[in-house]
Amino acid sequence: MSLNLNSNIADPDAFYKELIDSQRGMDDAQAAMMNCKLVLLLANHIGDREVIREALKRAGGAV
């Protein structure tokens, strides 16, 4: 499996709003903490190290 870059979420606009809204009322530190948890949760869900590595690269990570 490789990282899916095609649109994979039904109703993209609603998803995006949900993501942004989920951090409403948070200060920067709280939002940053939440983002870290989110990365960890989603990475674990994906599980496949190849896919995760590709995502790290696409996101501009030094891998």
Binding site: A32, M33, C36, K37, V39, L40, L41, N44
Partner: protein, 537 residues
């Protein structure tokens, strides 16, 4: 200070060779009588190699230093007759708790496997460990342990080394076919031979304090990330014998070691941690900064390195002494065969091959733990804290797996070693060539015994069927048959299960209790070939 332990002072004795100014050639000179040099002396004696041990001091380790000893080194010490005494004095533990701020984040159980002679882990002050080994050495005529002997210089020759040694009576010269440098992390020998010692330095400083108190805390390993009594840093609490508790405080990179070591600085910290009303006495304290690095080659001509002189790891995971003991376990039988002319000198190079591989594994583990415990950037700290917060969720098992307060020392199997013979038959279970042998309860002449006590020191052919011969040899190296059902009884079937044995299964086991090869039958030609390979012939 030191209410619970009185330090022995070992006598300095001038050697005959210094008195007479006669330069003597020794087979083996061990530099340093720390845990690793002393283990080396015991193992040399077990292999009947006469040796001289030089130490610049005249007592044991000051302060507890290394605390946790894992099953494999205990098995090695048991082979050398000191393991049982250590276990009897040490405190066993198996539960670890990790706290984040003021809450329990999660706990782990070492889950020791049943039916092993040695426990998963014991805690024991380093001075006891050393004292017991010095006692045992006193009974061994092969070891000449010399206190107040400082190695000053080494000159390498083709087939030996020339040592300049200083004692209270002045300077004298000795020669050695082999020199084993067990002179610790700041090894002088390393610089004398021009070896490189590279890796990563960590900025953070740690305060370690031995505190005496009568406390009803359970015997567990407690680790705090960012506790209220020591904000932003980590703290570790461990129980040792004699009501001595070891506390490690992370201090951060800008701490002043001399300042932090003062009782008036330490006592308030400990009080804040324990709550004001608990009575305690401070026994010993020290501040240290650590590094993760290793020597580029464990052998320089006739000089070999083992223990901290060869590799230095962070204390998380208690790897320092544990891994050093396994260096010795790996080296001494090889040295014996080479000294006796029974194996080529290239066998010694497999020591570097196998133990550098293990050192890299340890360094990787200890660097990872250190990066988790002492995050190097705001963002890595955020990930660390996020992991710890997620770990509190009982459903989030995955996050608990990410929490790293030090992975406990496990032996590194030599899976790629050139001494192994690869499997040609199919085996289940974990006893691959290169792996240290699992223990199991057995019976010998009707009496309860342990499997590991039946092997070691020489090659063994563990045979789960009727072996057609009593031994198989390559040159003068011979592997003696140990037949299950005849020499040892496996009444519970645990040995057979751990070795995935069927009738006829045969294991070739090295003198350091590691698997060299295994088959589903007993084929003398194949065994002889594997034996030759295991001695680098």
């Amino acid at each position: 200070m030191f209410k619970t332990y009185s330090y022995p002072k070992f006598p300095y004795i001038q050697s005959e060779e210094q008195k007479s100014s006669q330069v003597r050639r020794h087979k083996l000179v061990i530099v340093g009588a720390g845990p690793i040099g002393l283990t080396a002396a015991l193992d040399a004696a077990a292999h009947n190699i006469p040796c001289v041990v030089l130490d610049d001091n005249d007592t044991v380790s000051v302060g507890s230093r290394a605390v946790c000893y894992a099953k494999r080194p205990l098995e090695v010490w048991d082979r050398l007759n000191v393991g049982e005494r250590m276990v009897a004095k040490g405190v066993g533990w198996k539960l670890g708790k990790v706290f984040f701020k003021d809450r329990l984040s999660y706990q782990f159980d070492l889950l020791p496997e049943d039916d092993n002679k040695m426990p998963a882990m014991i805690n024991l002050q380093q001075y006891y460990l050393e004292e017991y080994m010095v006692d045992e050495i006193g009974r061994l005529p092969q070891v000449d342990l010399r206190w107040k002997h400082k190695l000053m210089a080494i000159e390498q020759r083709n087939d030996h080394a020339v040592l300049t040694v200083e004692t209270p009576d002045g300077v004298f010269t000795m020669e050695a076919d082999w020199v084993l440098a067990c002179d610790g992390a700041n090894s002088d020998v390393r610089s004398m031979v021009g070896a490189q010692f590279t890796g990563q330095f960590f900025q953070d400083r740690f305060l370690i304090a031995d505190v005496i108190m009568k406390a009803e805390y359970p015997t567990e390993r407690w680790f705090w990330f960012d506790p209220p009594f020591h904000p932003n840093q980590s703290v570790l609490l461990h129980r040792q014998p004699d009501d001595v508790w070891r506390i490690d405080f992370q201090l951060g990179w800008d701490a002043d070691a001399n300042e932090e070591k003062k009782p008036e600085k330490i006592i308030p910290r400990v009080k804040a941690m324990l709550g004001d009303d608990r009575e305690f006495e401070l026994e010993w304290a020290s501040v240290y900064q650590f590094a993760c690095r290793r020597i580029d080659d464990f052998r320089y001509g006739r000089v070999l390195f083992a223990g901290d002189s060869a590799h230095q790891v962070s204390p998380f995971g208690a790897r320092g002494a544990n891994t050093g003991v396994q260096d010795i376990d790996n080296l001494i039988w090889k040295l014996k065969l080479v000294i006796e002319g029974d194996a080529p000198i290239t066998l010694i190079d497999s020591y570097n091959e196998e133990r550098a591989f293990a050192a890299d594994d340890n360094l990787l583990n200890s660097t990872r733990a250190t990066d988790f415990i002492t995050p190097k950037s705001a963002s890595s700290r955020l990930y660390r804290d996020a992991t710890l917060q997620l770990a509190e969720d009982p459903d989030a098992e995955f996050a608990r797996k990410l929490v790293n307060s030090g992975r406990l020392s496990m032996p590194t199997p030599y899976v790629h070693s050139s001494l192994n013979t690869q499997d040609e038959d199919v085996f289940g279970g974990g006893m691959h060539p290169g792996t240290n042998c699992a223990d199991a309860p057995v019976k010998v002449q009707g009496k309860d015994a342990w499997f590991l006590n039946q092997i070691g020191g020489q090659f063994t052919l563990l045979s789960f069927g009727t072996a057609p011969v009593e031994s198989v040899a390559h040159g003068r190296v011979s592997a003696k048959v140990l037949q299950v059902g005849r020499d040892i009884a496996d009444e519970k079937g645990i040995l057979a299960a751990r070795y995935d044995a069927a009738p006829g299964t045969t294991y070739l086991i090295r003198p350091d209790q590691h698997v060299a090869a295994r088959w589903r039958g007993f084929d003398e030609t194949k065994i002889a070939r594997a034996l030759a390979r295991a001695v680098a012939a």
